[in-house]
């Protein structure tokens, strides 16, 4: 046996098909080819069978006139708009209801999670009862409860509950005056933006002063005055360029003004109350994961209970909470597809519901909808991972 390479025995010459690396590469390629073939076959089979059964295929329907109306549209839409437009209307409705609910559920969830750990027996138990009820009832029932059981009991339009300021509440939703901005409204608005920027500048400067001298100059009242008073004074000086479109009682319901439909409100309340119960548990878990010594250390430094939670416990607990929150947000977005059961026109209701039925192209509709939810989920995950890296404690 010859000795080369610094004393190690040279590798025995093997035929290439006995080389384990080449072998494993070969088999992996074969497997890959089989998987690709399988998918291609499934695709080809679907297309061929749809064709054989005279079922329309492709995305030719996208620009065809939809011919149906949608109750809530964030972009202009009418029955004369296209199916493609209806898709965007549905998608925006999904994003709206998910976005609003995520914000509210996070706030409510964090509050309840902290309350569950309260030393006050009554408050802690009430928070526990909340979590147990909402976590253990199916979301669909919660939606029915709010839609039919609570908002369904509101009075008919003829007997609306009237709040001061021309605000009406009835079975058709909450109607409020709609602000109509005059052309000159731009001036106070610009002033407001400028003042906010100045206030941010002040706060940055205050932080610098604090870091160099240890004393933080008080900026709160000054900033408040700048942001609120300056635009208000300008607004009044140029003659208050703002009027209101007030809802007027018609034959069936008040017209004009702005309205908040009960379907949307039920969805937001339902998704918020349900998801908040899960978020509360995540928050509780995150806080309990921090050793008790941290609280004791914070208290021995003279921090109040609130301060110790805000400055010591929460920053560490977030490491545990944020990844869990991510999955709650994903579930919430996907759960918003239950909207159709209470008449909320989300993506699934409009696109996988009405459009699918009118065009009959189930394969295309379901694929597009799956792709949308996949994209939304990946975007949410991506954002939460970025956020997690930002809030993660830098270990020194």
């Amino acid at each position: 046996m010859s000795v080369v390479n610094g004393g190690r025995p040279s590798e025995a010459k093997v035929v290439f098909y006995n080389d384990p690396r080449i072998r494993s590469l070969f088999f992996q390629l074969v497997l890959l080819a089989l998987i690709v073939a399988l998918f291609w076959f499934a695709y080809d089979n679907t297309v061929a069978n749809l064709k054989k059964r005279n079922i329309a295929q492709g995305f030719g329907f996208w620009n065809v006139e939809a011919g149906f109306d949608i109750s809530q549209t964030l972009i202009s839409y009418s029955a004369a708009s296209s199916y493609g437009r209806a898709f965007w209307v549905g998608l925006l409705n999904t994003l709206l209801v998910s976005g609003v609910s995520i914000v509210l559920a996070t706030i409510l969830g964090v509050v309840i999670g902290i309350l569950r750990l309260s030393k006050n027996w009554l408050i802690a138990k009430l928070a526990t009862v909340y979590v147990e009820i909402f976590r253990n009832v199916p979301l669909l029932l919660i939606l029915y409860f709010w839609y039919r059981g609570v908002l369904g009991l509101l009075p008919e339009p003829k007997n609306s509950i009237i709040f001061p300021g021309h605000i009406l509440l009835n079975t058709r939703g909450l109607l409020t005056p709609r602000p109509v901005l005059g052309d000159d409204f731009i001036y106070p608005f610009v002033a407001f933006v400028v003042m906010v920027l100045i206030a941010i500048g002040l706060s940055v400067r205050a932080k610098r002063v604090q870091e160099s001298t240890g004393v933080r100059p008080k900026t709160g009242w000054l900033s408040f005055g700048l942001i609120v008073l300056v635009p208000s004074v300008i607004f009044i000086l140029i003659g208050a360029p703002l009027s209101f479109d007030i809802p007027v009682q018609g034959r069936f319901n008040a017209s004009g003004g702005m309205s908040l439909a009960p379907e949307f409100v039920s969805m937001v309340i339902g998704l918020t109350t349900y998801t908040a119960a899960f978020i509360a548990e995540n928050v509780r878990a995150g806080i309990l994961a921090i050793s008790k010594g941290q609280t004791e250390a914070a208290q021995s430094l003279g921090l109040s209970h609130a301060q110790s939670i805000r400055l010591v416990i929460m920053p560490q607990a977030l490491r545990v909470i944020v990844p869990l929150l991510n999955s709650e947000y994903l579930s919430l977005t996907k759960n918003s597809s239950l909207g159709v059961s209470i008449g909320y026109p989300d993506l699934v209701s409009v696109f996988t519901g009405t459009v699918l039925n009118q065009t009959g192209q189930a394969v295309e509709m379901v694929s597009v909808t799956m792709l949308v939810y996949l994209t939304l989920s990946l975007l949410t995950s991506g954002f939460m991972n970025w956020f997690n890296r930002r809030v993660a404690l830098v270990e020194r």
Binding site: A80, R251, F252, L356, N357, T359
Partner: protein, 338 residues
């Protein structure tokens, strides 16, 4: 590794089998021993299970008539309740053999969904129901109203068309099923509820206070409802089509479930052909020549089915109107069995 490859091969082979398996629907039905019908989950008079789980209704009896023609037993059926939104996919994918679920015959459905209608078992039209309190006398007065509608129907489109062509504003609340839409109307979410007028008559009865609601006189669309099958199986299409025509022909010839045995002795050549004592009309459909006798003994003729489920003596109280025979001023007409 070998296992994975084997699994892939098996999976590929099973895809191949799916492609190959497309024998005639009639043979499949005979092999299964029952007809699988797509049914309405709950429209009184047309298709609804009672408290014991027995299905009743005009559409349901059509399904039983098909079973009677094939098996001489109207109970050899299985009903699959389908929502408006899922019905065509269920038929196209082979989940049901025939869809008899007050489905409107339209051109786009027949040219893009891969389905084909076998006939019209009920001529209908879309209408509106409102609460009497609103004092609305005509659909033209509905400008500004909020209207509840079920998703995935021609109703949704006709509604938009009606308000567009009359240049009226309205608000729509679209719900997943007819029960949810009706419930929303019943709880006051909407001023009006719209669907086919036969459906309105049935749905009104399931409201909390039926007498507080009134159906408006306008008919805003043509809704020919009927049984439909998958395209590409002409034998099965013929069978469903001719079961419908047989029900009409029996009414025309005065053959009922009560007198069918007597009529078998008739010398009338038309009745002999219909009841199969002469000719081989049943065999040409792949059935027994006594197919019409089996149907009539099983469910009766069209008139009997209509009167039993939706006629004036039922809670739904629909008149024959357009659904009378052509000879009595209606639209129901069957080509001759000869």
């Amino acid at each position: 590794m070998k296992k994975i490859i084997a699994a892939a091969v098996v999976a590929a082979a099973s895809f191949g089998l799916v492609t190959a398996a497309s024998a005639g629907t009639l043979d499949n039905v005979k092999a299964k021993g029952q007809v699988v019908c797509g049914a309405n989950p709950g429209t009184a008079g047309f298709g609804v299970p009672d408290q014991k789980g027995n299905w009743t209704g005009l559409d349901v009896d059509y399904c039983r008539a098909i079973a009677a023609a094939i098996f001489n037993d109207p109970t050899k059926v299985k009903f699959v309740p389908l929502s408006s939104k899922d019905r065509f996919t269920a038929l196209a994918s082979g989940e049901v053999d025939v869809l008899i679920r007050n489905s409107t015959w339209t051109m786009s459905r027949e040219t893009t969904l891969g389905v084909i209608w076998a006939g019209v078992n009920f001529f209908d039209g879309q209408g509106f129901m409102v609460n009497k309190k609103l004092n609305v006398k005509s659909a033209k007065e509905l400008a500004g109203a909020t209207i509840c509608v079920q998703q995935g129907t021609t109703t949704e489109l006709n509604l938009a068309d009606f308000f567009r062509s009359n240049k009226m504003e309205y608000k729509v609340v679209t719900l997943g099923t007819s029960e949810e839409a009706l419930k929303a109307f019943d709880t006051g979410r909407c001023d009006a509820y719209t669907t086919d007028r036969s459906g309105l008559a049935a749905d009104r009865l399931s409201m909390s206070k039926p007498d507080d609601n009134v159906i408006l006189p306008e008919i805003i669309s043509k809704e020919p409802l009927g049984p439909l099958v998958r395209q590409g199986d002409d034998q099965w299409l013929n069978l469903v089509k001719w079961v419908h025509f047989a029900l009409l022909t029996a009414e025309e010839d005065g053959i009922t479930s009560k007198n069918v045995d007597e009529k078998l002795k008739s010398d009338d050549p038309e009745i002999k052909r219909v009841l199969g004592t002469e000719g081989k009309f049943g065999e040409s459909l792949g059935l027994s020549n006594a197919w019409v006798v089996q149907i009539i003994k099983g469910v009766g003729n069209y008139e009997e089915i209509f009167e039993r489920n939706v006629g004036p003596n039922t809670p739904i109280q629909l008149a024959r109107a357009s659904n009378a025979l052509w000879s009595k001023g209606g639209l129901q007409y069957a080509p001759p069995i000869r």
